[in-house]
């Protein structure tokens, strides 16, 4: 008999194919459900496992109400702010995420933000969509060259290191701040700063790859933005909570920053519309892991975790041990 699974979110095609083949699931392609519906479906189908993503808040209250036959909850995301891990641990419920598989994809996107922001992709696209019809003068609409610039990376984890590898292809000098220096083979000659504030004055371009949470909340604020050199470029493809958005908007309006590229926002999708009114922003809707290849890999990884736990093995990516 196949294990019974509830999928609380639409999944990419190849993931649905595997769910249909290997699980007993009423909606193998996934269906967007809220927590009440999820609890109801889990009970009605006597489900063994729950596959969710970051839209479903798995707080202590929901975890307490999960039926006993549910033996694992796997989120198809790296972030797990939506899961009360302590409550899951107290109950002995394995919960898992999908790290690693989106490193390259997110690093590609950070590099896209850097290039698109420095080279004014939004303004150029707007010119084209309005029909163009006029050549530009040799000193007009100029962007900032990326090649050879100093790139500051705040947070040198897997994604930060992958961004550094790509940036080296543009002969960039890499600086990074991190709680601890990374191993020499991972740093590849990048200059370490224990203190972000010490690094900021040396960054032509700054990209954030730090964790979310209370210790990094508003890491970039009025004071820290002011430490960047005038004309610096700022990009964020990690967590919206890292940025004081009032301070960022002020720095973009005053011209202290040349431009900013954002994939994440404090409030998503109801982001601060003042960003949309600024010409010197490059804005995309949280697409860091949005490739068919990566989303499929994430879904497969979540299923691998489910299969392991249901077979009595330890989870591959446990959120508690």
């Amino acid at each position: 008999m196949k294990p019974r699974l509830i999928v609380s979110r639409q999944m990419p095609g190849p993931v649905a194919v595997r769910i249909r083949a290997d699980f007993d699931c009423p909606w193998p392609e996934g269906r967007d459900m809220d927590s009440e519906e999820v609890l109801r479906e889990l009970a009605a189908t006597r489900a063994d496992a729950l596959l969710l993503s970051s839209h479903l808040k798995l707080g202590a209250d929901v975890i307490a109400r999960l039926p006993d036959h549910v033996r694992i909850a796997a989120t198809c995301s790296v972030g797990f702010e939506h899961i009360d891990v302590a409550a899951a641990k107290a109950r002995g419920l394995p919960v898992t995420n999908t790290p690693d598989v989106l490193t390259d994809c997110t690093a590609d996107l950070a590099m896209l933000l850097i290039l698109g922001t420095c080279r004014r992709a939004h303004e150029y696209d707007a010119i084209m969509r309005a029909g163009w019809r006029r050549g530009y003068g040799l000193g007009e609409m100029l962007g900032v060259q990326v090649t050879g610039k100093r790139l500051g990376i705040a947070g040198m984890g897997r994604i930060g290191q992958a961004v550094a590898r790509r940036a080296r292809g543009f002969s960039m000098r890499i600086l990074y701040s991190n709680p601890r220096p990374v191993a020499a083979e991972d740093a590849q000659g990048a200059t370490y700063f224990a203190d972000l504030n010490e690094m900021l004055p040396h960054c032509d371009i700054l990209t954030l790859h730090a964790r979310g949470g209370p210790t990094t909340a508003s890491l970039m604020n009025e004071t820290t933005f002011a430490l960047l050199p005038k004309g610096a470029v700022f990009v964020n493809a990690s967590r919206g909570s890292l940025v004081d958005e009032d301070a960022l908007i002020a720095a973009l309006q005053s011209g202290h920053l040349f431009a900013a590229g954002l994939d994440v926002y404090r409030n998503e999708p109801a982001f601060d519309l003042r960003f949309a009114a600024l010409p010197n922003t490059f804005l995309i809707p949280h697409m860091g892991s949005a490739t068919i290849e990566t989303r499929t890999a994430m879904g497969m990884r979540a299923l691998d975790n489910i299969v392991a736990v249901l077979a009595g093995r330890p989870p591959i990516d446990p959120l508690w041990t």
Binding site: H55, D108, L112, G116, R129, G135, G137, L138, M287, T291
Partner: protein
């Protein structure tokens, strides 16, 4: 001794104008008014040198009618299709251009087009800016991965080689097609293809980096598009004339090609209206070299060349 007189046909980046005004008795164009051939002939009276731009057409008649005082012609561009070089040779007028210095900026533009097209940045940008973003879903705006893909470069010249270096940092494998195979140190591991067939079949993402005249005119046509893998991605920051627009638009409409990124167009600044109706293209207004750093460098190298000619030396950027 008085300074030589330099006619500058268009407004230049500030740092370049500062230098031109210091080294020459410079006739600048602060209003950036477009100049006709007749304007140039009038303004060049008594000038020692002319610095022109690709927007001006310097045909044989204009070159022949330039005042005898003009001893050097510079163009603020790599290309010199707008200048009748044979007429310059007849008149014994040396021409300098701006080679090399814009390779990096243009290669950056190619990499931007690759990433933006594959990751659907144009669609995402328009959705966010219009306030139409309703939230994250696992299947929203899924693009295709750039890292680790096979990149085909059509024309492995200076720009193509800079692009190859950038692409390798994304773990891409680089394939190329050129008139002949390059020496190993220039190839740097890129895989040469002797014919279009195998090159196109290998190119999951293809970047055009060749000149757009003669044999390569409309090179990317319906027949060659058919030889690309299904769902391939096309970028062009070289010359609009390399592409058969109707064929490319049809392939993007049908889904035969997944995405395209374009900085150049046949007939620009007018372009095939078909492109504007497509969501799966990223369009830039021919600003491949439009960085402050590159435009300054272009200005300096062309002024270097003009100064060298007037001083009786042969500059390295002399057009032959």
């Amino acid at each position: 001794m008085s300074k030589p007189v330099l006619l500058v046909t268009r407004r230049l980046p500030p740092a370049v104008e500062v230098r031109a005004a210091a080294a020459f008795d410079a006739r600048l164009n602060p209003e950036d008014t477009p100049r006709s051939g007749a304007d140039i002939l009038r303004l060049a009276q008594g000038a020692d040198a002319v610095l022109c731009c690709p927007a001006e057409k310097l045909d044989a008649a204009t070159i022949g009618a330039l005042p005898a005082t003009v001893k050097a012609l510079g163009t603020f561009s790599v290309g010199f299709d707008h200048i009748d070089i044979a007429a310059c040779r007849m008149r014994n007028l040396p021409v300098v251009n701006t080679p090399d210095v814009l390779s990096v900026a243009t290669a950056e533009c190619c990499m931007l087009l690759i990433l933006a097209a594959c990751r659907r940045a144009g669609e995402g940008e328009r959705m966010v800016r219009a306030g139409k973003w309703t939230g994250w879903t696992p299947t929203q705006l899924l693009g295709t991965q750039v890292s680790g893909r096979r990149l085909g470069i059509f024309g492995l010249g200076r720009i193509g080689r800079e692009l190859a270096r950038m692409a390798r940092a994304f773990g891409m494998s680089v394939h190329y097609r050129d008139v002949q195979r390059l020496p190993a140190e220039l190839e740097a591991g890129a895989i040469w293809h002797e014919d279009d067939e195998s090159f196109l079949a290998a190119s999951e993402i293809i970047s055009l980096n060749a000149p757009g005249s003669g044999a390569t005119r409309a090179w990317l046509n319906a027949e060659r598009i058919e030889k690309l893998p299904p769902g391939a991605v096309v970028v062009n920051a070289a010359r609009g004339t390399l592409v058969d627009d109707d064929a490319l638009i049809a392939a993007l409409e049908s889904g035969r090609l997944a995405f395209a990124g374009l900085d150049v167009y046949a007939g620009e600044p007018a372009l095939s209206p078909g492109y504007l109706a497509l969501e799966n293209v990223v369009l830039l207004p021919h600003l491949g070299s439009a960085t402050v750093e590159t435009r300054d460098a272009m200005g300096h190298i062309v002024l270097d060349g003009i100064e060298a000619i007037l001083a009786g030396r042969e500059p390295p950027n002399l057009v032959r």
